[in-house]
């Protein structure tokens, strides 16, 4: 069991993101995203969860050769790294709202790159929100808490959870038959209450 986990601050996460993005290191970006998401869940921290969505979008884009080998991507990446460096400056100046604005701007750049260079209709940032919310749900947050942390609706989350194997991994407490038998008994016992 990995018990001693070093705390990552938001600037640490951004610094690692810049380094791994520059190297187009998809796996390391994924690792940073996972660690940051665990912190977002543990602390219920929306600043962390937004950064996770941003990293998700970045790693998805740099995993596609038809995107990262284009000249357009080079220009996008330059803008993203500039933005991330500016976010760090604002974080150091303790201006968290400006920091968050730079993260939002970075996500807007990612969306634009995805729309112009991607081949799929689905949107990488929105997909990221749903997938990360399902991870937060798997970690034990309630559906409402997990969907709120990643700014999606509970409906979107539950529809996604339904097509994963998550419910199949849990230990069964009572079977459907047992639950319905109890409901049958209880509704019979309490039938007088209804009248």
């Amino acid at each position: 069991m990995e018990d001693e986990i070093k705390f990552l601050s938001l600037p640490d996460v951004i610094k690692y993101t810049i380094v791994y993005l520059d190297k187009k290191d998809y796996e390391s970006l994924h690792m940073i995203e996972n660690r940051a998401l665990e912190q977002a869940i543990t602390d219920y921290n929306k600043d962390f969860s937004e950064v996770c969505v941003m990293i998700y979008g970045l790693r998805k884009l740099i995993s596609k050769k038809h995107i990262f080998e284009t000249e357009e991507w080079t220009a996008y990446q330059k803008r993203i790294i500039e933005n991330l460096n500016l976010s760090l400056t604002n974080y150091r100046d303790e201006d968290l709202s400006k920091f968050n604005n730079f993260i939002k701007d970075t996500m807007a750049i990612i969306k634009d790159a995805d729309r112009k260079l991607g081949r799929y209709v689905s949107v990488v940032i929105e997909d990221g929100r749903i997938k990360l919310a399902s991870t937060a749900y798997a970690y034990g947050l309630s559906a409402a808490q997990a969907s709120d942390l990643l700014s999606i609706s509970k409906k979107q989350l539950m529809a996604y959870v339904g097509i994963t194997k998550m419910p199949d991994e849990d230990k069964q407490f009572k079977s459907i038959g047992e639950r319905v038998h109890l409901l049958d008994v209880m509704s019979g016992v309490n039938a007088g209450d209804n009248k």
């Binding site: 990995e2 018990d3 749900y137 970690y139 409402a144 069964q172 459907i176 639950r179 016992v189 209450d193």
Partner: protein, 222 residues
């Protein structure tokens, strides 16, 4: 008998076109109650989103036809909700930190259980259901997911939580659907087990926390 509903079960029924079944189930069971928050989550929050508008219109119709009683917020509910929020979000600790596992909407539904003397919470999502009926299984999930043994559970807070919600059971959309099948309330739609299996699978794919194994076991037993 009274059942407090979370939004998930209502949405699952709406998405699988079984919403009208609530009226018949209610006639067998008793009272169905929702909080204003659940009403907002099912109707108000999504009625301007085209993707969900139809579902919200259908649910609003059910609520307006008094299948669900909407509990009006009052001081008593607010106080009980705040206590539930504090107890549940300071009950489990991972590496010494309390996990904020539930939101105010869910806390309000839990608080309503105690205030209305309800016997059941109808809930499709895993965490709130486990809080009610098997909190120790949540500890196992936290240990597995966070890859640590440093997970603590505050038993005293759990006891206070149970005192507030009362002796309640949890029921999911798949259970209610099977209940309706057993009571012949679905006979105008289907009455064979293969169709039932399809309906239960549809509920699962809408997010009801149930495994394929559970559904298949039930169908094999019929």
């Amino acid at each position: 008998m009274k059942i407090v509903f979370d939004s998930g079960v209502i949405i699952s029924f709406s998405e699988t076109c079984f919403l009208s079944l609530f009226k018949d189930i209610k006639e067998v069971i008793g009272e169905f109650i929702i909080t204003k928050n659940v009403h907002f989550e099912c109707v108000g929050k999504v009625k301007h989103v085209m993707r969900f508008k139809l579902s919200s219109v259908k649910i609003e119709k059910e609520i307006n036809s008094h299948v669900f009683d909407v509990y009006k917020s009052d001081k008593q509910l607010d106080e009980a909700t705040n206590k539930i929020m504090y107890l549940t979000n300071n009950m489990f600790f991972v590496r010494g930190k309390p996990l904020k596992i539930i939101q105010i909407g869910e806390a309000e539904s839990l608080a309503l259980l105690g205030l209305t003397d309800a016997s059941y919470l109808a809930v499709d999502e895993r965490t709130t259901r486990m809080l009610v009926e098997q909190p120790h299984s949540l500890i196992e999930i936290f240990k597995r997911k966070y890859k640590t043994n440093k997970v603590n559970f505050d038993e005293q807070k759990y006891i206070k939580f149970v005192e507030l919600i009362g002796n309640v059971n949890a029921i999911r959309s798949v259970d209610l659907l099977f209940f309706a099948f057993k009571k012949n309330l679905l006979s105008n739609v289907f009455n064979d087990k293969e169709s039932l299996k399809g309906a239960l699978y549809a509920m699962k794919f809408k997010g009801c926390s149930v495994s394929f194994e559970e559904i298949n076991e039930l169908i094999d037993s019929l």
